[in-house]
Amino acid sequence: MKHGVAFRKFSRTMSHRDLMLRNLVTSLFEHQRIRTTLPKALDTARLAEKIITMGKKADPGSHTRAANFLLKPIALKNLFETFSKRYAERPGGYTRVLKLGNRQGDNAPQAVLELVDNPEDLRWEMTARAVGWEIVQNKIAKEKLSTVVTGGAQEAKDILEAEQRIEYGEKGGLLRPKTRWNVQKLLRFRGAEALEELSGKAAEHADKLLATPVALKAMFDKKKEKDARNFAPRTIAGQKLVGETRSVLDLAQGDLGYQRKAPSNILTMQKAFRLKSVKRPAV
């Protein structure tokens, strides 16, 4: 039972624990993204947000307290110059903890702790990729595979503009509700150019998804010329290719899982090359 237990002890004495957390917060302010264990990340996030709130207040008292807490001058500088401006409009929630699976050596649950809206924001990247993926999937469901591969995803910006206006729970739109929610959250406190940047990243990712099978096929052909015994690269178990509609768990289980027929419009390496509209790239 864990009734009423307020905080984690980390098997350390109070002084050791406090200094460890101070070091983690200082590192976070220095690098804006750190990778550590999940319990440490959750405790550090709590402390870091309190220090950022201190940084938002411009009074000398908060300055002294923040300076006494942080262990490096660069962290203090970042706090009062960068983060106070970045989070001026945002009411709390300045950090984000993203889970990363378990560590190899000791099976510890890992996490990435990052400052929201920093130049290397992981959720920003992932949402852009998700938008790109969903645009491509949607296109393949409607159009012919050959037109999709040549066309790409130019309308990403219009799609995102429309998605921004859809309320939570409303029907319509192209994106999954979760992706739409993430897009709306990410664009709330960023500037005007955020939408353009996000749509650019999404379009780039969509093009990459369509071009990768073609590029891989060209590379494999070159390898086969050298030695006919070379096998084609296999996809990892459960990999959902562009155009796939079956679930990853069913794909991963293979013969032991629920088996459905592959959809006709799936972009495998072999198919990408047999499309008449795709010209053989010079590798």
Binding site: L98, K99, L100, G101, V112, E120, L122, E125, M126, R129, A130, G132, W133, E134, R176, K178, T179, H205, L209, I236, A237, G238, Q239, K240, L241, V242, E244, S247, V248, L249, L251, A252
Partner: protein, 122 residues
Amino acid sequence: MSLALQSLRASSRSWTSSFSTPLFRALVPAAFLFAPALPRTGTWSLQSLLELFPSIVLAVPKKKVSHSRKSMRSANKGLKDKQNIVACPGCGSPKLSHHYCQTCYSEITRNWKQEKRTEADA
């Protein structure tokens, strides 16, 4: 006086009769009740201690556990399949639900490092 004697006799009778009940016999090993006299002089030896604790008390396996029984006991000790596997929203590869995709994380962070390296070189 007579009443007290009567009650004493009754209580003693009940005490002695309790010996014969099967429940009592089962709970308390007989040897405990009729143990040999303890040595009064000198130190306790292992022999005398062992006399107090008969073999029924020293727990020990009677036979080697057979291969079949051992396997039956370990039947449900195997690794369980993970059910929380979903598709990454960005690349379609399998990932744990509520976790960040490992392939995407690796790719994204390596790209950033590469950009920083080229910026540093330039």
